[in-house]
Symmetry: C2
Subunit: 380 residues, 2 copies
């Protein structure tokens, strides 16, 4: 079992990854859970159908009674109504300020459970037990939220978990698309922090399907990048914005297709190709790197051609809802060079030009068979 500590001004907590992490319910987290008058497990329906037994057994072994609330699978749960249903559930089961929640599921489950914990009677503690690779990102750092019809993660709080317990065994049942989704955030952590790490990921022909051992090591590296940033800027005043690399267009694509229809990480991968292209203009990223990144993404199975038929203006209206928008202007996280992010205001006209350019690059790299094989060769 590996672990690291996330330290913010207000609190500090551990992230654990490896077999047997749930044994910590009986040791490190015994006091928290046994002092609670009620423990609520909010479990994603899909995660629960595969793996709930593992969590239940560990809680039983630690002698922790709990109340179970099954959430609709994935992003479907993160709605205003879903949020209020969770609160009614807690009230009807007589939860109090002395109660504790456990999130058992992917990013959506963690975001929703965290926001419920942040706001139930003005705040109770919660533990994150992520069941997806994607959640290596969202489970750490205390960002919680629900989606609104107008945009993703628009309503939420900063509320740090009391601990994060990754059991990588659970990842073995993830569909390939979910693995891709999660690994996109890992690539993001590499891109904004470390050129060598980025290159090693892009050159690994097994990407995104790593062995359990390599996966644990890589995820912990990703979490460390995030933990270091969150330690310096918990409330996203400056540095933390860098973790949004690829997310401005990514969220817009996700909203355009309908949350959950194209996976979050797939959308972020599209968003990162766009940010790299903008970084050619505003930073020193080479067009060769962007092209190789497009080929890498396509080869790894990301549906980057999904935006080929999407009008720029359809995405623009969602981009304008981005939380980084400042005085009406779009703000992007871009790269000076690999590992060196910065934020940049970009005009709508330039955004549109870059979008058209991205689509023509994708066409060129993805639909040109000679380049495809060249792309694959490059990566081996």
């Amino acid at each position: 079992m590996k672990q690291l500590t996330v330290k913010t001004k207000s609190t500090s907590y551990d992230v654990h990854i490896g077999e047997g992490v749930y044994d910590l319910f009986a040791t490190q987290y015994e006091e928290l859970l046994n002092n609670a008058d009620k423990v609520g497990v909010f479990a994603d329906a899909t995660a629960a159908s595969y793996h709930l037994e593992k969590l239940e057994q560990a809680l039983k072994a630690a002698n922790i009674p709990f109340v179970l609330h099954i959430l609709p699978a994935g992003e479907e749960s993160k709605t205003p109504i879903g949020f209020m249903n969770c609160h009614s559930f807690l009230l009807q089961h007589h939860f109090t300020r002395q109660s504790v929640l456990i999130a058992f599921g992917g990013g959506a489950c963690g975001d929703l459970t965290g926001f419920v914990a942040a706001t139930f009677m003005r705040g109770i503690p919660f533990l994150q037990c992520p069941t997806t690779i994607l959640a290596h990102d969202s489970a750490v750092g205390g960002k919680t939220a629900i989606n609104m019809p107008e945009g993703k993660n628009m309503v939420g709080s900063f509320h740090q978990p009391a601990g994060v317990l990754f059991q990588p065994e659970l990842f073995t049942t993830l569909p390939k698309r979910e693995v891709r989704s999660g690994m996109a955030e890992l690539v993001k952590h590499a891109l904004i922090s470390d050129a060598d790490w980025t290159r090693s990921l892009l050159l690994n022909s097994n990407f995104p399907h790593f062995s359990a051992e390599l996966l644990s090591t890589e995820l912990l590296k990703g979490i460390q990048v995030k933990a270091d940033i969150v330690a310096q800027d918990e409330f996203e005043q400056d540095l933390r914005k860098f973790l949004n690399f690829g997310h401005t267009l990514g969220h817009a694509v996700e909203a355009y297709f309908g949350f959950g229809k194209v996976s979050h990480g797939e959308c972020v991968m599209i968003g990162m190709t766009y940010s790299l292209l903008l970084s050619e203009t505003y930073g020193n990223i080479s067009s060769e790197f962007t092209k190789s990144f497009i080929r890498f993404a396509e080869h790894a199975g990301y549906p980057i051609q999904a935006i080929q038929d999407v009008e720029f203006n359809s995405l623009l209206k969602f981009m304008k809802m981005d939380k980084k928008v400042s005085s009406g202007e779009l703000v992007f996280v871009l790269l000076h060079s690999l590992g060196h992010p910065f934020t940049q205001k970009v005009s709508e006209r330039q955004c549109e030009q870059a979008y058209l350019e991205l689509n023509s690059r994708i066409k060129e790299e993805v639909f040109d068979d000679s380049k495809r094989s060249k792309g694959s060769n490059n990566r081996k």
Copy 2:
């Protein structure tokens, strides 16, 4: 104009009371408001119909454009749907993380606006411009919340305002019932902090209808009590619970009759008579004091006889939802003596006995004409 400063670990802000406080938009709050990309005014419908012009003029004089959102009057606005409507309004008007909200209304408006500000894109600043006496309590201290069908203020956040601006001129249009409601919280602040102040309030035959001058002085005293407590315990770990004196039964009565049907302060006044009665058993409050308090409340127009036909069990189910409930046991704020509060677990059986006793006391003090006049005499 008078003012005091509320200092918490995380922040510090001023509370201003007096004529001309809105001129501060052009001075002390000019930077906050002019740096905002949007300013939203969330105004209670009733308050707006009487006084919005004063706020509008001040904002115009300070050259601050704003977007107006009218909320349903009173507690009707503090619902899950009302909360989500506010967020949709902000998103549709392209508010961002750089925006600021202003709450213009009573406690409900401030609670709702504050909770929206706490959670819109994970938190934006807001100013409190309370229009009721009751809000002298709720506008200070950073407690924000909405009501759930299961109970009052069950979902919320701690989110301190950037400033609180009381314009007492607005209080002149308040219905008597609203004045009573607000002054109950003032009595609470006296009861938990200062025996002499309590006695002077109870002996003032004009209570609750004070002159503007006296009202400003008294409200500032009440706010100071709250500010001192919040400074020591922002997140209600211990001391801050004392501000809940009278609220355990008070909230239950309010929920029983339907939020807004009997005013908050009227319910708190009933709750305080109950807490005083329990303080006879667990503290050193004399039965004579409780009786004189019942006569005082009745004489001042509080509908304390409203609970005469209410079964204890109908209230108990709401009391069990109280946020102070610990491991299933009811916890009350009681008084050792005037000005000296403490918290106390009380069994359901004892709660019921005290409730029956309270009703018989009310009957005795309120419906016995000889005592009524005696009560009035006592207070002169």
